[in-house]
Amino acid sequence: MTERKIEIKSLYKVFGENPQRAMEYVHAGLSKQELLDKHAHVLGLRDINISIEEKKIQVIMGLSGSGKSTLIRHINRLIEPTAGEVLVDGVNVLGMSADDLREFRRHKASMVFQRFGLLPHRTVAQNVAYGLTVQGIDADEAGERSRKWIDRVGLSGFEGHFPAQLSGGMQQRVGLARALATDAEILLMDEAFSALDPLIRNDMQNILLDLQEELHKTIVFITHDLDEALRIGDAIAILRDGEVIQQGDPQSIIMRPADDYIADFLKDINRGRVLQVRSVMKKTARGSGPKICFNTPLEDAIQDIAASGKNSGTVIDAGGKTIGAISLDTAIAAMARPDTKADTQKYK
């Protein structure tokens, strides 16, 4: 059983002159739009409850204005909530004194920013060492400890450059190395790769996944990009208008979208690549064809089955034990967009 690292409990954020009074209206059931129209307060977050497992990547996804960047800033309290709790290892971040909070930010949670947030007047080496120098570690030791991370993100040789001399992708590597250098257990990534072009973004995702395999941090990753969310997320929470509308395992979200809004979101993904065998297999059945690991993408599974000449495969778990079966028909049906049938009928 994995530990709960971060628990966000009934978190509310209201922006405006008198948030506490506005909260009464929110509790009375006013919608975001009504609150804005009638009382000139903006409801940033409404009743957020998310449990984030240790050593997993929790993606928080939403379009702009959904409150996702506001939400991540509550975890290290860059933004004060109007109501609610944020527990990290059981300690309420919102109850910390200024000193405790500073210690928390220095050692426990580090952050990567959308527009990098690098210090333009400091070199790459000094930027990566920033978190350490803030902790009071002297320049030599901080430089020594940060060198490893500069190397790890592939920036060796650029130590003396200033951020303005680097490309966006390289700047974000500096941002990532800076966040890793403090050895914090929690990594908060606020649309960290959104400002990068698609190829570089892909590179950065690979770097992050590689690092995660060896470091096992608890990562909270904000994005508006569904492909990115599905690619790196162990769990996904989808935010709209400041509310969580669905959260859980990416597979279950694809198979059972909570509403039309999410279904609409999922329309354009490559289901064959994202869906895994375990999500569509029949647990009770036994297949005739090849053995297929439970987390194989559907498109690979179909290839394997088709190549074997049979019309189904046996699904096994990581230990090789049979846990179910998958037939070609179910695999292909699962890959089709759920609304395809309706569409074809429309055009007849």
Partner: protein, 296 residues
């Protein structure tokens, strides 16, 4: 009808009494505290006298060498250094060396005082909107009120001399550095500050490590403006007993000496241009990190 033609002003006698009351009040204030204030400013006076004497009494080639070296340190430009030395040679040749040294002394002290007061004030203003809304109109008054108006209370309090002159110069010259320090700090990228917070920087680390270094180009533009405005006050300061290039200009005005006025006026211009160019070059060098590889 009379009401419309004549402005309903305060009675003549009342007005006189009103002015008298203010004058008497300030006079008794200056009698009570004038001496105390004078002794408070005494260290500053001693420093000004010391610096002026140092500049005038040192051998001129040595002074020239130091000025040239400072110009080099600031600008790293041989052209500027040569121009600076050339200007000072011409100034000396036309018999204005001592007055120029005296002017340099008061400008330097005024700049130091303005930096010492202006930067902390600017930082305070940047920290709080309320402080900003109080200080901004005060700065507006300081910059627009005719200098002669504040010369009166300053002279009443401290008499004629270097210190009242210095105060007059500073009142006029301090606003730009306050304004630009405030502006510079307020313009620092929000995300960089957020990053500093997210890594647990305390107030001091945030201010000294992020805000001031990133505001430095603006702060430096403020210093530059302060120096220029201090130089503009040289002639007025000479009216209340500050030595320097302003004194001959004042003489030239009252006696219609065209050449004298022009020469000393141009000497002030020369100093102003040198200060301006050197400090601007220095300001540009501070921003070297903003350039990317392609224009390196």
């Amino acid at each position: 009808m009379e009401f419309l033609e004549e402005f309903p002003e305060m009675g003549r006698g009342d007005l006189r009494d009103f002015k008298k009351a203010i004058d008497a009040g300030f006079r008794s204030f200056s009698r009570a505290y004038g001496e105390g204030l004078e002794s408070f400013f005494d260290p500053l006076l001693q420093f000004m006298i010391w610096l002026e004497k140092l500049l005038i009494n040192s051998p001129w080639p040595l002074v020239l060498l130091v000025i040239g070296a400072l110009a080099w340190l600031g600008s790293r430009s041989l052209v500027l250094v040569a121009g600076t030395i050339g200007c000072f040679l011409v100034i000396g040749f036309f018999g204005m060396w001592e007055d120029t040294m005296a002017t340099l002394a008061i400008i330097s002290v005024a700049t130091i005082v303005c930096i010492g007061i202006g930067i902390p004030l600017g930082i305070w203003m940047a920290k709080s909107n309320r402080v900003q809304s109080i200080i901004t109109p005060v700065l507006d008054i300081m910059q627009t009120i005719p200098s002669f108006v504040y010369l009166i209370p300053v002279v009443m309090l401290l008499g004629i001399g270097k210190v009242p002159g210095l105060i007059a110069v500073c009142i006029y010259a301090v606003p730009p550095i306050v304004r630009l320090t405030n502006l510079g700090i307020r313009l620092v990228d929000e995300e960089v500050l957020e990053a500093a917070d997210a890594f647990g920087a305390n107030y001091k680390q945030r201010l000294l490590g992020v805000q001031i270094p990133l505001a430095l180009p603006n702060i430096f533009a403020g210093v530059n403006q302060t120096i220029m405005m201090a130089l503009a006050m040289v002639v007025i300061a000479s009216m209340i007993g500050v030595r320097g290039l302003g004194v001959p200009v004042l003489q030239a005005v009252s006696n219609q000496y065209l050449a004298l006025g022009l020469m000393n006026g141009l000497a002030i211009v020369a100093i102003a241009i040198i200060f301006d160019r050197v400090s601007q070059k220095y300001g540009q060098r501070l921003q070297a990190y903003r350039r990317d590889i392609s224009n390196d």
